[in-house]
């Protein structure tokens, strides 16, 4: 199977980053799609935790909201929201936090709060949700979002959720002991933090995408790793699983997927 969309490539590439058996704190929307695709393909024993309370969620269709009934019905257990944040996230039991965002900067800091000044925003975004503490307490962070100049900006108006602050060892100096973002998966490629500067650097380019497209979709002078490789295209198994999941979801909801 050779035909696939850029969104399919993004979701498949993100799903592959989730190891079988990992305990993953899942954001709604794109992260939830990728995490469930992982569960339905190479990672049947991945444990999906949603902030509303389900632990070991195995939704039949993608949830539209963070509190869909399907998340609860097929979970190993459902606990109260304070317990999710106190015992499971802060307790250090989450291996991977899977986040989306409205905006990201070169050090993988995220903005989901405002565009423009805080007191008089041009665009008021939904806000932090669980992300600030997921970013601090989960062992490592995966980020998935579509790449564009509106989303990949030189200067964030607001840092809702910490990545590497201004790079280097700033994250460690701030007192964070977890790894932070390990990959940003987009519809054009994959960016990973440089081991020293922590600046997001292109390591993978999806098939059919050019370096020029990546540069044009990024609001800062984008760096490429020395050995950039082409992302392995989706396998037939991955594509079939993703399309089945999306079809089941559309049939159930009359739409594809939700945001938080």
């Amino acid at each position: 199977m050779t035909d696939f969309t850029t969104n399919e490539m993004m979701t498949v590439a993100a799903a592959r980053r989730l190891q079988n058996g990992a305990v993953c704190f899942v954001g709604i929307g794109l992260p939830s799609t990728a995490a469930n695709l992982a569960r339905l393909t190479h990672a049947p024993d991945v444990v999906l935790i949603y902030e509303s309370g389900p632990i070991g969620a195995k939704p039949q269709v993608l949830p539209l909201s963070i509190g869909d009934g399907d998340l609860a019905l097929n979970a190993d257990t459902v606990v109260a929201t304070p317990e999710i944040f106190r015992y499971w996230l802060q307790g250090g039991r989450i291996n991977v936090g899977f986040l989306g965002a409205a905006q990201i900067d070169r050090f993988a800091n995220l903005n989901t709060t405002v565009i423009g000044p805080y007191d008089r925003p041009k665009t008021r975004l939904p806000g932090a949700g669980g992300a600030p503490e997921i970013a601090g307490s989960a062992g490592e962070i995966l980020i998935i979002l579509r790449q564009s100049r509106r989303a990949f900006v030189d200067q964030l108006d607001f840092i809702t959720t910490v990545g590497f602050l201004d790079g280097g060892d700033a994250r460690e100096r701030a007192g964070l002991k977890t790894k932070g973002p390990v990959a940003v998966i987009t519809d054009l490629g994959i960016l990973e933090p440089d081991p020293v500067t922590r600046e997001l650097t292109v390591t993978h380019i999806h098939r059919g995408v050019t370096r020029e497209q990546l540069v044009a979709a990024t609001g800062w002078p984008l760096k490429f790793a020395d050995n950039v490789v082409e992302t392995e295209p989706p396998t037939e198994t991955e594509l079939v699983a993703l399309r089945d999941l999306n079809a089941r979801t559309a049939a159930a909801h009359g739409q594809d997927q939700g945001s938080e």
């Binding site: 304070p82 665009t123 939904p126 600030p132």
Partner: protein, 287 residues
Amino acid sequence: MAEIVSLREAVAGLIHDGDQVAMEGFTHLIPSAAGHEVARQGRRDLTLVRMTPDLIYDQLIGIGAAKKLIFSWGGNPGVGSLHRLREAVEGDWPHRLEIEEHSHADLANAYVAGAANLPFAVMRGYIGSDLPKVNPLLKTITCPFTGEVLAAVPSLRPDVTVIHAQKADRRGNVLLWGIIGVQKEAALAAKRTIVTVEEIVDSLDAPPNACILPHWALSAVCVEPGGAFPSYAQGYYDRDNRFYPAWDKIARNRDTFLAWMKRHVLDTQNFAEFRRVLAETAAAKEG
């Protein structure tokens, strides 16, 4: 001690102008009927608290019932923006809305601290985030044992918490299950608590460790079948996923919003009548 009363009586007696009110729910068991009744009774100057403000807070903000919002994620779940909230923040309409913004972990901890009768909550949080720069209530505290610097946030003690649950028994003991969010903590943190339920039964038949709120810890229990619509009540009815994108269209425009609120909420007597009027307008649209 909970009295089993009508929702109208409960709101009239327990929610006052200027109160801090938490109507909680994490996309499940949203107290929509109660939100409408607060709008219908014309409450003003409310400080609304909720981790995930959704449609009912969009409605209360849009008609000018709120002076302040304490929250951690404000959106239309699965759809996008809350347009009335956005216009209040971006454009001061219908008036300036004060915003006090937190993260989910913070507010969840703040309810726990409130329920535990503590003045503040301690957690690991906010490191590297700009939120403490815009919310002076987000502070730090040094652990007296280890020296670790931790986030300290004030506890939440709402004047009134309002939640929806599956059922109550005839004494007013309440049972809820499924995704129960912060409802138990919010109920126990509040000075007064109103619970709307799908039904009243002779016996809850709940296993030990079920989430039961005893009648003596509540102020009022009100029967409101379907009272979480368009959200869901697990075991009773599903979420009406079509209503959320429909709300996006209604709330985008001030006049459309005000006309909708007048016809469906302010000019109806109760939630049952709201559902009848909504069915009529939907049928008229399809016909």
